[in-house]
Symmetry: C2
Subunit: 426 residues, 2 copies
């Protein structure tokens, strides 16, 4: 029995999936006994379907797929929370199995959609929503379920990782490297979703929900992006033995889930420190397995399509066997989200100050006043500039204390600005 597929969205990922189905359908039949048949593709642009040799399957109306009684499985590859949300919802309502690559929909409405799928006995698979081609949702939902997961760390945004890598290795400034990333197609014209951390926030919300068996949505994450990072920070970090990465972090703590996205200094010896360029990696710590890492390409036609196809074949196997989903939503606990102000970590702080007597004493007093203890400090004078740089590394401290100290520091007449604050992972 052929499993019949309707695919919506024929851009990068959708095009990649069409190519794989056309290339490997016979292999899937021979290796796995699964007969996958693409019967309809939908997008706004027929030429895309034609470019992949499936112009004859084209429709511009997604309802023709959702309402087609012949179709078993709907693949949503449009992205965003508008039409895509309608498609996923209506496909489930129509009794279709759904595979999606949509992080935004899953990170905002995952709870409702998973509940709908569970209630109707349908698969809703979304491996491609996080980490591109890297298998991570599968391992978290299956191989690693014997563990209590304490931490998930992700380099899950290829755009910012590319930018930070270039800034680090070639000393380029943020604006310069952003322009380059846009020219190469790694960054959008409006780069906000990437550089301000929203993309990573959606992904870590999805990972945390699965890893901690407790629903986290994108609204629970207040991301900080990389706009403030400059090559001098990367240089200072390296001289102290650290790389700077935009990390998506989720920790299970006694006081709830600590979840955040921000530039992070991580020791150069940590496996995540050498994940460079557009590569992604997800680091998972479990009480039995210890530390594990999943590494690969986080975006692009092939990798994303690989993840979607893994889901398609998995769902098709079950459809062909007449088996209803066994593993649906596993978010049965309701752990609180820990406020950012309560986290305790180490910090790197760079202050741009006037080169005057007393500035070091004044800034250091502000830290002391709020019980923020300095681990190391250096003052660097740039001969070409009128200001000096004070670079502090702080002992473990409460976020709220540090922020209050920095508020005070920002008011000092001798301080130009609090240039950079970077949390440490070590």
């Amino acid at each position: 029995m052929a499993v019949k597929i309707g695919l919506i969205g024929t851009g990068t990922v959708g095009g990649g999936c069409i190519d794989i189905i056309l290339k490997h359908a016979e292999d899937f039949k021979r290796h796995y006994g699964i007969d996958i048949e693409l019967v309809r593709v939908c997008s706004l642009d027929k030429s895309e379907a034609e470019a992949h040799g499936v112009g004859h399957l084209f429709t511009s109306d997604f309802n023709e797929i959702i309402n087609d009684p012949e179709i078993d499985l709907v693949i949503e590859l449009i992205g965003g929370t508008g039409v895509a949300h309608t498609i996923v919802t209506n496909a489930l309502k129509a009794g279709k199995y759904v595979v999606t690559a949509n992080k935004a929909v899953m990170a905002s409405c995952g709870k409702q959609l998973m509940a709908m799928a569970d209630e109707k006995g349908l698969f809703l698979a979304f491996e491609a929503s996080v980490g591109g081609g890297i298998p991570i949702i599968g391992p978290l939902k299956h191989s690693l379920v014997g563990n209590e997961i304490s931490t998930v760390l992700g380099i899950v945004n290829g755009t910012t990782n590319y930018m930070l890598t270039r800034m680090d290795q070639d000393g380029l400034a943020y604006a310069e490297v952003l322009k380059e990333a846009q020219a190469k197609g790694f960054a959008e014209a409006d780069p906000t979703a990437d550089v301000d951390g929203f993309d990573a926030a959606a992904k870590i919300a999805i990972l945390a929900s699965i890893a901690f068996n407790s629903r986290v949505t994108i609204d629970d994450v207040k991301p900080e992006g990389i706009r403030n990072i400059s090559p001098v920070d990367l240089e200072f970090a390296r001289s102290m033995g650290y790389a700077i990465k935009l990390l998506a972090i989720a920790n299970r703590t006694e006081d709830g889930i600590d979840i955040r996205v921000h530039p992070t200094m991580i020791p150069l010896t940590h496996p995540m420190a050498s994940v460079n360029g557009v590569y992604n990696a997800i680091y998972v710590i479990g009480d039995s397995v210890g530390e594990t890492m999943f590494f690969g390409q986080g975006a692009g036609r092939g990798p994303a399509a690989s993840a979607v196809m893994g889901d398609i074949i998995e769902v098709a196997r079950n459809i062909a066997a007449g088996v209803k989903p066994i593993v649906g939503c596993t978010c049965v606990d309701t752990l609180p989200i820990r406020p950012m102000s309560e986290i305790e970590t180490k910090y790197y702080v760079r202050l741009s100050v006037k080169d005057q007597p007393g500035v070091l004493a004044a800034t250091s007093k502000c830290f002391a006043d709020h019980m923020v203890s300095v681990y190391s400090m250096m003052q660097v004078r740039d001969d070409d500039a009128s200001d000096a740089q004070l670079v502090y590394l702080m002992h473990q401290t409460r976020e709220a204390n540090l922020m209050t100290a920095l508020d005070d520091i920002a008011k000092l007449e001798t301080v130009n600005r609090v240039a950079t604050v970077i949390r440490l992972w070590d």
Copy 2:
């Protein structure tokens, strides 16, 4: 409905599993609706069961588990191919689902056992047989199935990776570091299985079978171990930009499966080069996903038990749902195994020679006679020794040609010995 488990083997891995079940059974019930009940444990030593608080479940006769009609799932954690093979076979014959961590059984008799399981509609799960806690069999059988996999590279033996790391970082000699590994419990009194590559051979046979959908057994792999590697080789390698790792390699080629285990020089910039100590990693290249890596602890109580528990919960989920296995044996192709003599790769060769005129000309002529082309060469004289070292890097060449050239070289009067031959991966 509780899924009832009989566990055979209460050593490191078995003990770890008992601990996890006792600690997390309530979590598994709450998170996954799976009620796992350990009803019997078997080993030769009752005190082990007692040490984990399950002395009351002890039997010394595994047949009491296999023949217990109450038991759904048999966990085989004895290892080796003797009793363990009997247990797995008889458990399947008795209609039990089986989870095993046994690489030796799966790499030698996997075909027969998988066929038996498929025929009887039973699960035979073996994630823990490769890579300890690292999820790799799951991803290969599920998330990555949309790919044609071209290469699997593994650092899958923690003992040798620990030894090579120590030799590299601290300049210790092979014998010294072996003694240390034995003292730390990383190496057995008889280290053959590890240092001569048989352990890695079993693991790559299993991975290749799954990745290439074609059965490979341990007899298809002729491993070379690390006994010949000395600290000077690691030093030379590093100076040329390479690390030396015991790699298990499986390539899909037009002429069949190229499968081997040997010390390998890999560029320091490759993610596998920084997998150090007892850590393992498996690198998978697929036509869509590109390059991915799975990293973690390859052995030890927690990691191995994590993998076993993942299988146990997965099988238990299916038992509870009344679902027969969907993904059984996928080795439906019959690709030939490419003879080692036919492979083409680059080589590092170190010759110990007499410090006499003409030796360089004579050895270089042997290479030229067999069409082995030199990429770079250096001669190093150790003042304390009577011999000199000739270190060659070869362009890509056919293995048979290199070996014939080395046979000729070994016969030269001016050559003490062919000290080391290391293949490159780059």
